[in-house]
Symmetry: C2
Amino acid sequence: MSIMSSQPKYQRRKEDRPQEIADAAFAAFAEKGYAATRIDDVAKRAGISKGLTYLYYKTKEDLFKAVVKNVVVRRVDTLIGNVESTNLSSEDFLRGPLLDFMKQVPGSPIAIVIRLLISEGPRHPDLVDYYYENVVARGLGAIRQFVTRGVERGEFHRDALQYQPHLFLAPMMLSMIWRLIFADKPLDTDQLMESQIEMLLAQLKA
Amino acid sequence: MSIMSSQPKYQRRKEDRPQEIADAAFAAFAEKGYAATRIDDVAKRAGISKGLTYLYYKTKEDLFKAVVKNVVVRRVDTLIGNVESTNLSSEDFLRGPLLDFMKQVPGSPIAIVIRLLISEGPRHPDLVDYYYENVVARGLGAIRQFVTRGVERGEFHRDALQYQPHLFLAPMMLSMIWRLIFADKPLDTDQLMESQIEMLLAQLKA
DNA sequence: ATAGTTAATGACTGGTGAGTCAGTAATGTC
DNA sequence: GACATTACTGACTCACCAGTCATTAACTAT
């Protein structure tokens, strides 16, 4: 019929599989949600057989947790890291890097993780704790730190700290949820976040 | 063994069943989410057999849509209605009834509906549209109306309208999501909303 | 080459749950 | 009381899918 193929049917790639599977799973979860995603779909996306998935992840739930942690460490960790090492004035930091960071979150994989946490979180409390400690607590901490610094430098007045750091993030949250639910309905989310930062700065300044 | 029971095994209650089933379904969805809820669970909660559910709702998806619409009309409709008929000054309205409304939303069934929309919305676009028109658009409209009135009366300055009504609701949104994910971690959500309203009023006032 | 190791396959199983429907009994009507 | 109507039951089907495992074939060492 034809010349014998010297192409092997598959290659063994022990090193890369876990990451590839996690990426495929993330894409699948993003599209259909956790419950509606079949392990078979994930395998197809990753270009492997269903069985192989189970060599690297014991259960579907294991895979789920790995996916969330994977996104968290890959994205947020570095971003928050950068942010912590700047030495801008408090005001410039809040208006600059923080605002930029906020603007890009609603369209990032973090939004997908939030969706997954909202729908599946109640059945994975350890995952929720992990996310709280590694993302939320650190994020809020970073903001609080910059407000504190602003007070120390006299840029902000003494009782500026009464404003909870959550207030900075509220419009980001709304933008994220808006996009998750009403993907098509337009909303100038950047404008929203800018207004909030300006408003807060006006309140904080001495 | 005993005196013959004259108690019938069941009563026919054609009128009440649909509502009872919807209530049971809402409770079940709230607890376990849409995908993880079995029709059998819903039936047990409603005190009926599984088969009867299908007499009143053709499919599980039908039931889901009915549940969401049911909650929406029963709760939000009346609330927004009340709000629209007050004749307080703009400032008093925003600080009073609006704030009160916002404070109780994160703990109300609306939060559950939001959770369901976030996780199942993408597969039910018509439901999303329904929700947008009947809740979101009307809610935002009501706020915009009060800001406009404030400008007309000279309470707020001319360009107060540049502030999107979404900004009022952002902390409410954050509080809601926070509770949905981190039910146990405390957060003074009332304080958050109060600060935001005060901040916005400070910006709006002439 | 050859044998040994193990990454990878894919057919299979067991459990589950949405949706069906033949039968039952509550209620209405005369 | 007898008959007709239909709300309601519960056992059943059938498709689907997480997880298993015997087998295959890609790689490695010698």
